[in-house]
């Protein structure tokens, strides 16, 4: 077309620097513990890339980070957060407090405001006052401290279930028996497992394996963890908060 009229039909193949790798994460805060969980399937479209790609990472003995969305961004983001925490350790000879990690994550995410990390972050752990905490973020750094949060492919399946079971939404308390503000650890673990088995049943991008991280406040007993099959402790230093991981199978179809 010599007149250049084809210019109105540009047919360029633009490179898309993003992808979606499925999976779901969630976190629930207790009075003196925090539970952070994620499935281990990584997929692209209808293909399962691997049945074991962790989305939940221990940052310190009191902080655990779950990342979900574009896996390459997620892994790079976790790598950079860990690097910043190491620098902090070298400068201050202690681990960064949880709320400071939360603010660090917001800053790091917002720094990429115009080429964002395509990742939803949930940070769980123990605050300096010994309370269990969950912070959730959007990809560009908006964040909030909450009692529970689900994110990822099955967020819309899991979050309303959590509203009902954690916040007791739509349930009226019996007279003189108000709903508990925090649930015991064993109840929280059951709710986490039920959430993921439910999501696995109805969402194709969720399944294969489940990793549940449990952070216990300094001095708390392991009540609720004893008797759970396959618990593994990941704590690095003696005194202080403790981190555990529980690994479970999920359906692989």
């Amino acid at each position: 077309m010599p007149d250049g009229s084809f210019a109105s039909h540009p047919q360029e193949r633009q490179f898309n620097p993003y992808s979606e790798n499925g999976g779901t994460i969630l976190a629930i805060a207790g009075a003196d513990f925090s539970v952070i969980a994620g499935d281990t399937r990584q997929s692209e479209g209808y293909s399962i890339q691997t049945r074991y790609a962790p989305k939940v990472f221990r940052l310190t003995d009191r902080a655990v980070l779950a990342v979900n969305g574009f896996a390459a961004d997620g892994n790079m983001f976790v790598k950079k957060v860990k690097q910043r925490l190491e620098w902090y350790r070298h400068a201050h000879a202690k681990d960064m407090p949880l709320k400071a990690i939360a603010r660090l994550i917001q800053t790091m995410l917002y720094a990429q405001r115009f080429f964002p990390y395509y990742v939803y972050n949930i940070l769980g752990g123990i605050e300096e006052d010994g309370s269990g905490a969950v912070y959730s973020f959007d990809p560009v750094g908006s964040y909030e401290r909450e009692a529970c949060r689900a994110a990822g492919a099955a967020q819309s399946l899991v979050q309303p279930f959590l509203d009902n079971q954690i916040y007791f939404k739509n349930q009226l308390a019996a007279p003189n028996q108000p709903h508990p503000v925090h649930l015991p650890l064993s109840d929280v673990l059951s709710i986490v497992i039920d959430s993921f088995t439910g999501a696995t049943e109805r969402h194709i991008e969720v399944g294969d394996g489940l990793e549940i991280y449990v952070v216990l406040a300094h001095g708390r007993s392991v009540q609720g963890l004893e008797g759970v099959p396959g618990v593994q402790e990941l704590t690095t230093s003696g005194e202080g908060d403790r981190v555990f991981v529980i690994r479970r199978e999920l359906k692989k179809d």
């Binding site: 250049g4 084809f6 210019a7 540009p10 047919q11 360029e12 193949r13 490179f15 620097p17 993003y18 992808s19 790798n21 990584q42 692209e44 293909s47 890339q49 691997t50 049945r51 074991y52 790609a53 574009f70 896996a71 390459a72 892994n75 790079m76 080429f115």
Partner: protein, 244 residues
């Protein structure tokens, strides 16, 4: 295949736009890999296509890196050759350190994933999917990295059409048996999978190489030409030479 638009302007006015349509030599076909008892095995055919043209029929797509790693590439051929030069430079640089340390498969994969992710972040990707495999210090390693910087690891991996056609076969044969499969059994699984791929992937060749990495080192086979039988096509409408 990439489309490039050149825009010619004077005083902010667009005079003309020239559309270039450049076809690159592509390594479109699959790379397959699996873990077995003594290490890892990787296979790739020797074809580099140019669109639908089978342009180069004897290209090696499996490359040893150091003495305990092998990489296999699909995607753009020139980008792969660039990656090979990067890895050569890296190997030489590490050698000249003279500390008798050598990069193993995990380090090579980490390096590649950083390069790939950095290039995608500059919106100028290296258009490849690469498998990295090897054995070092008694531990076998197998992982994937692509143009987006996406990485993952599993006991069976495949790129391209192999991920749809061969991977289910590999998973069925390998998953849960990684520590009992012998080299001979692994080779048999590979040959069978490559045969199935050749039958169904139009951009593939029945000439391929198999790389094996064990504690003792890397071996890359000479090209293997598979015997295939097309007799069944005779009676199938659309396959054979029927006129109607």
């Amino acid at each position: 295949m990439t489309h490039i638009t050149l825009t010619l302007c004077t005083n902010g006015q667009v005079i003309t736009r020239i559309h270039l349509q450049k076809e690159y030599n592509e390594l479109r076909t699959s790379v397959l890999a699996l873990k077995f008892k003594d290490g890892i095995m990787m296979a790739a055919d020797t074809l580099a296509s140019y669109g639908s043209l089978a342009r180069f029929k004897s290209i090696q797509r499996l490359q040893p890196v150091g003495s305990s790693t092998v990489i296999g590439a699909s995607g753009d051929m020139s980008d792969f050759q660039y990656i090979q030069t990067l890895l050569d430079e890296l190997t030489v640089e590490e050698f000249t350190a003279g500390d008798h340390h050598e990069l193993g498969p995990a380090e090579i994969h980490e390096y590649l994933s950083r390069v790939m992710y950095a290039r995608r972040s500059k919106m100028n990707p290296l258009w490849n999917s690469i498998l990295v495999g090897g054995v070092k210090d008694g531990k076998s390693f197998l992982a994937y990295v692509d143009l987006l910087g996406t990485t993952y690891s599993a006991s069976t991996l495949a790129t391209g059409y192999g991920a749809y056609i061969a991977l289910p076969l590999l998973r069925k044969a390998v998953e849960g048996r990684e520590h009992e499969l012998t080299e001979e059994e692994a080779r048999k699984i590979m040959e069978e999978s490559m045969k199935v791929l050749f039958y169904r992937d139009a951009r593939s060749l029945n000439k391929f190489q198999i790389a094996t990495v064990k504690e003792s080192g890397v071996t890359i086979s000479d090209p293997i030409i598979l015997e295939t039988a097309w007799g069944f096509a005779e009676g199938i409408r659309g396959y054979g030479a029927q006129t109607q």
